[in-house]
């Protein structure tokens, strides 16, 4: 990890409107190379929508997205994948009737390096080893349990050899043991030099892992800074107080 980190992703004034709903309201942020950048916010805050705009699932209603100095606003998801962006889905989307290995091979074949099939299969095997799914590689993806499907999401994204990885709630629905495993995987990825943008509800995890944290509420950014700064921010506490359960979790996490 270099210390003179350059900016890898910039979001400038991005808004996204769904009919009457303003899901993102003039969001600005910039992510530096090599960091883990956490995004938090209550349910429906627009976090996943922000990911969808970054990787081209839909174009922003206004504003620009820049990736490694290039304006990538409105590009298609597959264009972003070629440029070195990979993501996981909050609601897992395995390619059900393909094997685990084939799933990951797809990631390697069509990712940043666009590997030929045989090389991609080798990469898939490596990555599966890495996330701990190697023994299940011949299984159909639909037969995995939730925790394994989350790992599969991760493996598929990693196989693309991304520069920037977007993780959407990879810890949700995992038991404490599985969470610890997954956190280990995330750290290992960062140590490889991959920049990570992660959405997470599990506060202690975000607060421990992230270099910087960004808070969204009703589509608007309400705070940004180090975990310490953010957790003391009055607006953040207020936003979460709307949801007492989360507020409690939040305060526990920050403590």
């Amino acid at each position: 990890m270099s210390t003179t980190n350059s900016v890898i992703l910039t979001i400038e004034n991005v808004s996204k409107r769904f009919g009457g709903l303003l899901a993102l309201d003039k969001v600005n942020l910039s992510v530096k190379e090599g960091e883990i950048f956490g995004i938090i916010g209550p349910n429906g805050a627009g976090k996943t929508t922000l990911f969808n705009v970054i990787n081209g699932v839909y174009p922003p209603t206004e504003g620009r997205v820049k990736f490694r100095g290039e304006d990538v606003t409105g590009l298609q998801p597959f264009d972003m994948s070629k440029r070195g962006l990979a993501r996981t889905f909050q609601v897992v989307r395995p390619l059900s009737e393909l094997t685990v290995r084939e799933n990951v091979t797809v990631g390697a074949c069509f990712g940043r390096e666009h590997l030929p099939l045989e090389k991609a299969e080798k990469v898939a095997d490596e990555v599966l080893e890495y996330v701990g799914l190697a023994e299940r590689k011949e299984m159909l993806a639909s037969k995995l349990n939730v925790a394994q499907k989350k790992r599969l999401e991760m493996a598929r994204a990693l196989a693309a050899r991304p520069i920037l990885l977007l993780l959407d709630e990879v810890l949700a629905g995992l038991n404490p043991h599985e969470v610890a495993d997954m956190l280990g995987v995330v750290r290992k990825i960062r140590d490889q030099g991959i920049t990570i943008l992660m959405i997470e509800h599990l506060m202690h995890a975000v607060m421990n892992l992230s270099d910087r944290v960004f808070v969204l509420d009703y589509g608007a950014q309400i705070a940004e800074g180090t975990p310490q700064e953010v957790s003391n921010h009055p607006k953040v506490i207020e936003a979460y107080l709307g949801d007492p359960k989360v507020a409690q979790r939040f305060l526990e996490g920050a403590a």
Partner: protein, 322 residues
């Protein structure tokens, strides 16, 4: 290429090729006629499988390419005395070109909408050709016997068409296999499973789908050209017969959707079964009912088709039964 070193595909090709030799060795014309039809169905089913089984797009009206290839080639042979194999290839290329341009807009549709659109396209072409005087309109076109003179008479021409159909079937099966085992095929299957996720994984579905549709139009078109060359007569009804398309879909399901062997097994089983039912005097009346009941049972209880079922039951065979 690693793909072609797989023993599986060679076994299949040898079996199909070997079976195709039987009518020649036994010198039986009726067997040859049966085999000609069977190979044609194998080609049709395998082609539909490429777009439907691998990519997940149910091309209901795929028979349109059979008709288009048939008409184009027939016209060239009749009006310009083009050699039949050349004409068939031109017919195939023409149908592929049409598929390419149709595919760009139509493959944006998903699920039921795509299936319905392909029916509409077939019906549109059928009714257009019914009115298209250059191609004979409603009565179609037929050869003068002199067309066959170039091939040493009608009997010889039939023989030649048969050989060509055999080669085409082998090429179709080979192509189906190579696609399935390639990076391209993996991309298609990713589209089939989840198109939106596949885009995020780096796949450009529009490009892959249009290319696939173009390929899957070629083989039925050439088959149509050979069929009507041998037939000596082409009419809109038989050329664009929706029912035949649906039957080919049934064959794919019967044998096993998304596998290389499935459409072959499906075509053979379906055709044999129908032959048996039609020729048996007590069953012939009920053949449609019996075939329908069998199909229903398969759809309801053996969703994966014969080959899919075997693959599920005997995992050890998976490597040999693609």
């Amino acid at each position: 290429m690693k793909t072609l070193s797989s023993p599986f595909i060679w076994i299949i090709l040898v079996v199909v090729g070997g079976a195709s030799l039987l009518p020649i060795l036994t010198n039986s014309v009726s067997l040859r006629e049966d085999m000609f039809l069977m190979l044609m169905l194998v080609i049709l089913a395998s082609s539909i499988n490429i777009i439907m089984g691998y990519t997940g797009y149910v091309s209901f009206g795929h028979i349109v390419f059979f008709g288009l290839g048939g008409y184009l080639a027939f016209f060239l042979m009749k009006e310009f005395q083009v050699q039949f194999m050349l004409a068939a290839l031109v017919g195939g290329a023409g149908a592929s070109l049409i598929a390419f341009f149709i595919g760009i807009p139509v493959l944006r549709l998903r699920g039921a909408y795509f299936a319905l659109a392909t029916i509409g396209i077939n019906e549109a072409f059928r009714s257009f050709f019914t009115n298209f005087d250059l191609f004979g309109g409603a009565v179609g076109m037929f050869f003068n016997f002199s067309v066959y003179d170039a091939y040493g008479g009608a009997k010889n021409a039939g023989q030649l068409a048969y050989y060509a159909m055999v080669v085409l079937a082998l090429v179709t099966i080979g192509t189906s296999f190579v696609i399935k085992k390639s990076k391209f095929g993996l991309g298609l299957m990713a589209i089939r499973e989840d198109q939106d996720a596949s885009m995020v994984l780096g796949i450009d579905p529009a490009r892959l789908k249009v290319l696939t549709y173009t390929i899957s139009a070629f083989f039925p078109a050439v088959a149509g050209a050979l069929f009507f060359f041998k037939n000596g007569l082409i009419e809109p009804g038989p050329a664009f017969e929706l029912h035949r398309s649906i039957e080919a879909l049934v064959m794919v399901m019967l044998g096993g959707y998304g596998t290389v062997t499935g459409p072959i097994v499906g075509a053979v089983v379906y055709e044999r079964l129908r032959g048996f039912l039609i020729t048996d005097p007590t069953l012939s009346n009920a053949h449609l009912v019996i075939a329908g009941v069998l199909l229903l049972l398969i759809v309801l209880f053996v969703t994966a088709g014969v080959i899919g079922w075997v693959r599920q039951r005997v995992p050890a065979l998976r490597r040999y039964l693609e």
